[in-house]
Amino acid sequence: MSEPKSDRPTTEPSSYLDFEKPLAEIEGKARELRAMARQNEGVDMEDEAKALDAKAATMLRDLYKSLTPWRKCQVARHPDRPHCRDYIDALFQEFTPLAGDRNFADDLAVMGGLARFNDQPVMVIGHEKGNDTKSRIERNFGMARPEGYRKAVRLMEMADKFNLPVITIVDTPGAYPGKGAEERGQSEAIARSTEKCLQIGVPLVSVVIGEGGSGGAVAFATANRVAMMEHSVYSVITPEGCASILWKDSEKMREAAEAMRLTAQNLLDLGVIDRIIPEPLGGAHRDRKASYDAVGKAIGTMLGEVTGHSRDKLIKDRRGKFLSMGSKGLAA
């Protein structure tokens, strides 16, 4: 875990969410004061800036103390939030990307390959959304096409063959709703990926780091152990989609997010996930190092829980876990 931190967040985001607007103003003012002090020798604004820092810290704590489900969706989609690539770079060594589905294309919305985790060779597979305009387009905003799922199936088979644990990192708005994707069997590709998750005789652990969007997420997250980051979400449909179907008004996404129970806390209560990974105050992007450490620790723990089990037990436990899911509802 990282060192204890001061009240001031390590990094300020390049963009703020709508509900963070008052916070943006205060943090902006503190930045201005410090810039002014740097430009004008002999001017000391540090006391004023520190007062603003303290005010910002209190506000941040208050804002994040109990985020509404819709605000969690916004944090989960924050453009500065660390993505799959960031976690792989921070937590894995010798990452060797493996490309292609051997059938049609390489889908950059899904990245995967061999890597070492704590020296142990593993297969890591995840959705990557990209972090600037160019990479977001290349990676199709993390919305995989059939080739992405088929690549994942291929890599899971390889891991199974060589007895490597599989780690999946989930962060997708959902599978891509496109013409070509449908023509090339989007449904079948997702179904086969979920099926493969249930068949492999090696440990499979999964972390939802941002958005767990519907079937596109399940296709990777049908795992022995599933963790969610504190402000990530996992749902059957986006709140906007749910609102437009059930409320006939996509602007009702706040109500839909509330009704769907898509937060990590709800999913833990429902027995759908196994653990919640705490995030730095203000979201994963405000202290990347702390986020990487927390995710790394969770992956290590989850792998530890299932390492050493026989192939049969791994498969049987994974199936049993999903078969028994849903036996309890939320408390009234």
Binding site: A175, S187, G215, C242, M260, F322
Partner: protein
């Protein structure tokens, strides 16, 4: 037996039919506009006798036509926790459920049955689009698991008729979890070496297509059925272009290698008998040895000649 009570959007349609077709004796084909005599339409399994358009058919009517003599035994499905999320949109979920039960006369969106089809023991599951859009919630998951377990126990093939808009949003993440749950059910069948035949009917979309409905040993669809992951409207909004004629329809999927066959409903039973018997290594079904429909059998009779191509030799 009034078939229209089991039709999609039953209330709307029954109001419509009351106005247009007095005493429900006639109904109008939504494709070609031909007025069809109700009894004749029911005998043709709700397929328009004029243009061949396949209208919705209830799971019960489908099973009456599928099983020998229309005789089948329902397989009990465990009831899941009701309204696990305490879900409320514009209505409460339990109220929506009650309305669906009242309108369809069914308990939920899936019917499981066992019986004989061409003297071949099978377990069958059919999804009911008229019940909340056939949506896949925990009950549907439980139904498929119960069907698979029953099939494994009896060492019989499972024939599944899909029809759904997708996952049941009112059950949130638990509806999504039916994708892996039902996939486990399919694996039970595969590991037992039992045939799993999927018949995709109009419409089959979303998480249903992306799980059990695409994992059959043999994938058959009814003509012109819409089969997709993302619906055409969502795709048009995403790519901002018009989709080609017939996009995501059964024949289009057949062309793109996603299905084995597109088969008319009226030929489906014979085809299912032929396929399951071959997969089970059984001799062809013999014409004429099947029990006749019993006297008290319902108005919809099983097709009179369940002969297979093999039997014609």
């Amino acid at each position: 037996m009034n078939w229209i009570t089991n039709y999609v959007r039953p209330r709307i349609n029954s109001i419509f039919s009351r106005r247009e077709v007095p005493e429900n004796l006639w109904s109008k084909c939504s494709e070609c506009g031909t007025m069809l005599f109700h009894r004749e339409l029911a005998e043709n399994l709700n397929v328009c006798t004029s243009c061949g358009h396949h209208m919705a058919i209830s799971p019960r009517d489908r099973f009456k036509a599928l099983f020998d003599g229309g005789v089948f035994v329902e397989v009990k499905v465990p009831d899941p926790v009701a309204d696990p999320l305490h879900f409320r949109d514009q209505k409460r979920y339990p109220d929506r459920m009650k309305a669906a039960q009242r309108d369809t006369g069914e308990h939920e969106a899936m019917l499981v049955a066992e019986g004989e089809m061409g003297q071949t023991g099978i377990v069958a599951v059919a999804q009911d689009f008229s019940f909340m859009g056939g949506s896949m919630g925990m009950y549907v998951g439980n139904a498929i698991i119960a069907a698979a377990e029953r099939a494994v126990k009896l060492k019989r093939p499972l024939v599944l008729f899909s029809a759904a808009g997708g996952a049941r949003m009112q059950e949130g993440i638990l509806s999504l979890m039916q994708m892996p749950r039902t996939t486990v059910a399919v694996q039970m069948l595969k590991e037992a070496g039992l045939p799993y035949i999927v018949v995709l009917t109009h419409p089959t979309t979303g998480g249903v297509t992306a799980s059990y409905a695409m994992l059959g040993d043999v994938q058959i669809a009814e003509p012109n059925a819409l089969i997709c992951f993302a619906g055409p409207r969502v795709i048009e909004q995403t790519i901002r272009e018009k989709l080609p004629e017939g996009f995501q329809r059964a024949e289009y999927l057949l062309d793109h290698g996603m299905l084995d066959r597109v088969t008319k409903r009226t030929d489906m039973r014979d085809e299912l008998i032929t396929i399951t018997r071959m997969l089970l290594g059984l001799p062809p079904a013999v014409k004429g040895t099947l029990p006749k429909p019993e006297a008290e059998a319902p108005a919809i009779e099983a097709p009179a000649t369940p002969a297979t191509p093999g039997a014609k030799k």
